[in-house]
């Protein structure tokens, strides 16, 4: 197997961790990338006392690195508090996977955004934030801007 991916990416792609849905999630996010059309959904179960993410699941409609980055994000987030999980960056996820091809950096951004959307949903539902910025295509584009030009590729 000789894809432009690291062994770790391939491993997470082949055997993704925490795939699926949570029945009654405390937080739920669905993000899509206008760069490629991929989507990722993240479901959270949060301990209301400790704010620790006790369970996390994801679903992906996307490329191999979308699946792998979503998988690694769930591993990174599980057991962390909401505040800690918010700080997980796409660079951290990418590093954890041993790197991604430059053209695939946005997949990692998408996975992180999926997690953050789920956290925002949790915070909103639990009255932890006052207003939520709707995730429009423009918002996603601006988030992706530092990674790539979403329409033209790299």
């Amino acid at each position: 197997m000789k894809f432009p991916y690291t062994e770790k990416v391939l491993e997470h792609f082949k055997n993704p961790r925490n795939v699926g849905k949570l029945e009654n999630p405390d937080g739920k996010g669905l993000e899509g990338s206008p760069a490629c059309g991929d989507m990722v959904a993240v479901y959270l179960q949060v301990n209301p006392d400790t704010q620790v993410i006790e369970d996390i699941k994801f679903e992906s409609y996307g490329c191999a690195s979308n699946i792998a980055t979503a998988s690694i994000i769930t591993e990174l987030a599980k057991g962390k508090t909401i505040e800690e999980a918010k700080k997980i960056s796409w660079q951290e996820a990418t590093e954890e996977l041993g790197g991604l091809p430059p053209v695939k950096a946005h997949c990692s951004v998408l996975a992180v955004e999926g997690l953050r959307a789920a956290i925002r949903d949790y915070e909103e539902k639990h009255g932890l934030v006052s207003e939520q910025e709707p995730t429009t295509v423009d918002v996603i584009r601006s988030r992706l801007k530092h990674v790539m030009n979403p329409m033209a590729g790299l």
Binding site: F3, G37, D38, G62, A64, M148, L154
Partner: protein, 385 residues
């Protein structure tokens, strides 16, 4: 693990008869075909034979064949070659679903001040001949429309288009890179002035191809030097490559009916079994005006690169038009031109068959595909389960 190659539109394994034909031309009959001594004349003779093999396979004359470095260069030469001979004529007509070799040659010419009309296609990929005819201008220098499309396999009504071109006295070029060896390609029947061929798509070596140029068609070269190929393509001829290409063309012609029957059977079986066993699927391209070796299908809720990789892990090689896999993150311009919905483009797979594939390979492919789609849909947030 058994490996099954189903990406013959990308490239093909070199036929063992072709390799055998090439082998003496590396270290024994290695002369430069321009040399006067016997090492040179032996090489020149080999080129003559290959030129005849290529010409015969498409119903042309040997002197109408210009050897190039491949299909891309042939397309460049055809289109850019007629431009200097048509000083006032700055208009080119082509289709929206051409190969990048044609499309990017056209954009290059646009950057030099030429005008290009890109004729649309219908949802099956057939060019709109009426629009094509209406877009003809007084200053149209050339019409270039591919014989069969590399992604969806749709076959164009070349005879009709070449008739229109002739009526208006405009040069007509077709890119036959994908059609040679799969359907009959005869330059007179097609009525073309120029026709591009690539060796590596027909079980010949990579890095060699040809442009057929009908006698009387004036073109100028795009590579300058020692005036090889009657001045139309300079550079020491790739003798071993051309010998292999000649042999591959001979085989393609000899085996055409056998190969196409075999490929058609496999193609139709693959399509119907996918429809029978997998839901939310569509066939891209024309249902019948289609290359015998092309299967292009889209699967909802499954993404192209992921499918491709899971299939590869099961030993099966295919390609996709999804945006995630291409190096530029741009979805297939062909599937877009066919107005296929984004979600289907995103889950498109091209399975292109070759003469060495078997019905067993089709069985294996269908199994691998089922497993792949099941796995991916199980993790998709969109699939209705």
């Amino acid at each position: 693990m058994k490996r099954i190659y189903m990406d013959h539109s990308a490239t093909t394994p070199v036929d063992s008869l072709v390799v055998d034909a090439m082998l003496p031309f590396f270290s024994e009959i290695f002369g430069n075909a321009s040399s006067l001594h016997s090492f040179g004349t032996e090489a020149a003779e080999a080129l003559s034979l290959a030129r005849k093999q290529v010409a015969d396979a498409i119903g042309a004359l040997p002197e109408e064949i210009i050897f190039t470095s491949g299909g891309t260069e042939s397309d460049n030469l055809a289109i850019r070659g007629v431009v200097p001979f048509n000083e006032g004529k700055k208009h080119i007509i082509t289709s929206v679903i051409e190969h990048p070799a044609v499309l990017n040659t056209c954009s290059f010419l646009e950057s030099l001040g030429h005008e290009v009309t890109y004729v649309p296609v219908d949802v099956d990929g057939i060019i709109d001949v009426k629009v094509l005819e209406e877009s003809i201008r007084k200053n149209t220098a050339i019409i270039s429309v591919m014989h069969a499309n590399n992604e969806v396999g749709t076959i164009q009504p070349i005879e009709e288009i070449s008739g229109i071109a002739k009526e208006h006295n405009i040069y007509f070029h077709t890119d036959a890179v994908q059609s040679v060896g799969k359907i009959p390609v005869n330059v007179d029947d097609l009525g073309v002035d120029m026709l591009s061929i690539s060796s590596h798509k027909i079980h010949g070596p990579k890095g060699v191809g040809a442009l057929y140029v009908r006698n009387g068609t004036n073109i100028s070269p795009i590579v300058f030097g020692g005036n090889h190929e009657k001045g139309m393509r300079s550079g020491t001829e790739n003798v071993s490559g051309i010998v292999g290409f000649g042999k591959a063309m001979e085989l393609a012609a000899e085996r055409l009916s056998e190969d196409s029957v075999h490929m058609t059977r496999m193609r139709d079986s693959l399509i119907s079994r996918v429809f029978d066993t997998i839901s939310d699927v569509r066939l891209n391209g024309h249902p019948s005006k289609r290359l015998p070796n092309n299967v292009n299908m889209s699967f909802k809720y499954a993404e192209g690169e992921s499918m491709l990789m899971l299939l590869d892990m099961q030993g099966v090689a295919v390609s996709t038009g999804s945006a995630c896999s291409s190096k530029s993150l741009k979805a297939s311009h062909v599937l877009s031109a066919l107005r296929i919905e984004d979600e289907f483009i995103h889950g498109s797979l091209r399975m292109s068959l070759g003469r060495e594939n078997t019905m067993d390979d089709i069985d294996h492919m269908v199994d691998a595909l089922q497993e792949t789609i099941t796995k991916l849909r199980a993790m998709s947030p969109l699939a209705d389960r």
